[in-house]
């Protein structure tokens, strides 16, 4: 009896981890002609869970968010880093089994840094981020309404400048979809075996050193 006659049951091919598919073009395709309710329903469901968790985690509260920016309350970092640890392990495991595709965001040094700093200034002014702002609104923080208006206005302002920005700032330091393990020139699995324990260690130290 030959084992070669047995067919594998996996529907998707196990991807070769030396060559990672980092996800398709970032430009969204124009709206599809067929209307499908499924993404809308799933989006709503995932959104509800997300908002519920954010509120329970305290990050819909103005003073908790300002708390990290004043380096007094580390709740936000604990939430984010735990999510990163669980998500990194979970998603790369699923990816190695061919169950999910990755969606790596592009690295553009100038745009990442300048955009990031501007975001940070706005974050301190409003005291909520886009996700936690929605959660704050649901929690009853009415000032988030004005924040939402600002978020929409700022998005449109960016769109106004997007033609020019695409030809200039967005091009400076464009490194395509660079990943951390590529910077240190390690295979993905080896990198993760070091990276995940490092993140967990940081969380443990943080937990020891902080009251909140």
């Amino acid at each position: 009896m030959s084992l070669a006659t047995e067919t594998p049951k996996k529907v998707l091919e196990e991807p070769n981890l030396d060559v990672i598919d980092k996800g398709g073009p970032e430009k969204d395709l124009p709206a599809k002609k067929e209307f499908s309710a499924k993404p809308l329903i799933l989006g709503a469901l995932f959104g509800i869970i997300f908002g519920y968790l954010l509120q329970k985690g305290g990050v819909a509260k103005y003073h908790v968010l300002l708390g990290i920016l004043l380096l007094e309350d580390f709740t936000v970092v604990k939430v984010m880093m735990t999510a990163i640890v669980v998500g990194t392990v979970g998603i790369f495991t699923m990816h190695s089994m061919g169950l999910v595709k990755l969606h790596i965001k592009p690295t553009r040094y100038a745009a990442n840094i300048i955009g990031g700093l501007l975001f940070g200034v706005g974050f301190a002014f409003l005291g909520y981020c886009p996700g936690t702002g929605a959660a704050a609104l649901g929690q009853g923080n009415y000032d988030a309404i004005v924040g939402v208006i600002g978020l929409m206005a700022g998005s449109y302002l960016f769109a106004e400048m997007s033609g020019w920005l695409n030809k200039t700032v967005m091009k400076w330091g464009d490194r395509d979809k660079l990943m951390l393990h590529e910077v240190v020139k390690m295979p993905l699995r080896t990198f993760l075996l070091i990276w995940i324990p490092v993140l967990i260690l940081v969380l443990l130290v943080l937990d020891r050193l902080t009251t909140r």
């Binding site: 200034v121 649901g138 590529e182």
Partner: protein, 197 residues
């Protein structure tokens, strides 16, 4: 890269020093989270796995606002909106990203309602303590400006604290780690100037 790292390190020392000498109310005087941040974080990580698997999308928030802004723009100035590069590449429509934002509002309401934490306030207590009980105008001005800076910055950087800060970083995207660090450098410096000077 090395000089950039050193500059960043130097910049982060100043707010850290300021944090040691608190001027004004301590944030810890106000109530913290209802659940453990580790539990919440772990569940958000699991949620990310779900969005990748079921929706083939990373969790994010800022895109939803950009889409709604685009739809409003198309309502009032359709030709102009359609001529903008960003909206040519990202068609404004009610889709997954927009529903996540709407869902988040509902989910947070349910959580706050269930936990007795509905606030119903225009000015956060900590803001009033710093800027005065009469500071609604200032608060709304800061909120509006803050939202504008954040959305502009998020589009330029390519995501917000959810899109880059969680979804991007967990995929080991270098740009996401750079963006998150920048978010906090900018935010910490600004918050320190607002509350600790």
């Amino acid at each position: 890269m090395k000089s950039l790292f050193l500059v960043g390190l130097g910049l982060s020392i100043i707010p850290s020093l300021l944090a040691v000498v608190p001027i004004g109310t301590s944030v810890l005087e106000y109530a913290g989270p209802a659940w453990s941040p580790y539990v919440v974080g772990a569940l958000i990580g699991v949620l990310s796995m779900f969005t990748f698997y079921f929706s083939d999308k990373p969790l994010g928030a800022s895109t939803g606002y950009a889409r709604v802004a685009g739809m409003i723009g198309k309502l009032f100035a359709p030709k102009h909106t359609e001529s903008l590069k960003y909206y040519q590449d990202n068609q404004p429509a009610v889709d997954w990203e927009v529903m996540v934002v709407f869902g988040a509002i509902v989910g947070a309401f349910l959580a706050a309602w269930q936990g007795g934490e509905l606030t119903g306030e225009w000015v956060p207590a900590m803001w009033a303590a710093r800027f005065g009980e009469d500071s609604l105008g200032l608060r709304l001005g800061a909120a509006l400006l803050g939202g504008m800076f954040m959305a502009f910055g998020a589009r330029l950087a390519g995501g917000c604290t959810s899109g880059h800060g969680i979804s991007g970083t967990l995929q080991l995207s270098v740009g996401s780690w750079i963006a998150v660090i920048s978010f906090f450098v900018g935010g910490i410096a600004t918050a320190m100037l607002m509350y600790r000077i």
